[in-house]
Amino acid sequence: MAAVKLIGSPISPFVLRTMIALSLKKVEYELLPEKLGEKSELLLKSNPVYKKIPVLIHHDRPICESAVIVEYIDQVWPESGYGAILPADAYHRALHRFWTFYVDDKLFPSLVAIGKAETEEAKAEAVEQFRAGLRLLEEAFVKLSEGKAFFGGDHVGFLDVMLGCFVVWIEAMEEVLSLELLEEATMPALHGWVVSFRAHEAVKEVMPESGKVVEFFKMIRAMRMKAAADAAN
């Protein structure tokens, strides 16, 4: 019986966050993917409030919400693997947490809106909103990285994990929708960061293949369009 279990699969960026954290700490765990469209007994029992993945189960006790899970992992295995994920000083921790709030509250919904947009206008608006958010993160990166490779400086930190989980989805959407979302011209620092993040051993271990994410995105788009067409008829 594995002491550490994780319900979910890396195609979900929120699950990927927790997998990156576990990988950084070199913690062994059992991955329990859910079937698409079905929620397991274990999931419903472990996360009765939201019934969502990811759920980390440690010594049979569930921890829910990806940001909470990553902080938990950092606290339980402080020195393991690549070391601390949260920054050492309180002010930087506050900045990483502030920007995580921003990513979850504003940036991610605008990314979803791009995928869901039904008209060209709606898409253009959503794209502009998303790019505006990335431009803020570009500024934040310059300040927080202090010339190093990551938001955490010379090692992968909390915000790297919380934002980095979306990289493969951003790329998939760029490919399928023929858009540039993470513009190299206006976001050179973030562009560089993506390269560093993707190159990190712990991230490479768990990052899903781009092809798989592209296929998955195409599939859910098709499902959504079919549902809309069925509803219209």
């Binding site: 409030v49 440690h58 902080e71 606290q75 921790r93």
Partner: protein
Amino acid sequence: MPQTASLHLTNRLHIHIVLESESERERERGARMAEAVVLLDVWVSPFGQRCRIALAEKGVAYEYKEEDLANKSPLLLQANPVHKKIPVLIHDGKPVCESLVIVQYIDEVWSDGAPILPADPYARAQARFWGDFVDKKIYDCGIRLWKLKGEAHQEAKKEFIEILKVLEAELGDRKYFGGDAFGYVDIALVPFFAWFYTYETCGGFSVEAEAPKLVAWGKRCMERESVSQTLYDPLKVYEFVCSLKKKYGIE
């Protein structure tokens, strides 16, 4: 006057002067320390109140600056350029934004006071989870109770009562959400205790009937000075919401 008596008097005077200037220095030091911590806030904001309660629990001296949201100060715009919202804690010139981020920051910086988040990683994770739940659910659903009408209002009422019941179940028979110790989840939720009257009046239900343990918990929290000195009278909050409704042209 005998020699010894005058000497005695002089010594007392000397000590008195020394003590006076020491307390003067203490006052100055206290004032300087308070200047080092500034809170940009609005009186009725439950999010701002979380910060005020946390600062009070830790005994931190700070300068409170009331913002006029219709006319935001240059300091606010500079301290929170992303959202331009209160609360903002400015510590030694460095701004911290997002109320729960601020509460965690206060807990970590003034670590010699009673802890707000528990030390145990699992208990801490539970506290973070429930603080996040309160953050995601109460305010947004609450607004719908006084802004919306008809079906949408009924939906909001159902949802809000469900939220209360979930919190009630989580609290159980404990003194506080943190157990015996007042903590993070209590701080995240208790400002909304002063909003219960508004929610139930606009919503058409009774919080006491739906979640009696939660009401009892709120009253227990109000026994703490940090809470009673921070929360406003529920009627005042209701008056405030009524004035907002008028402003937005809601019946």
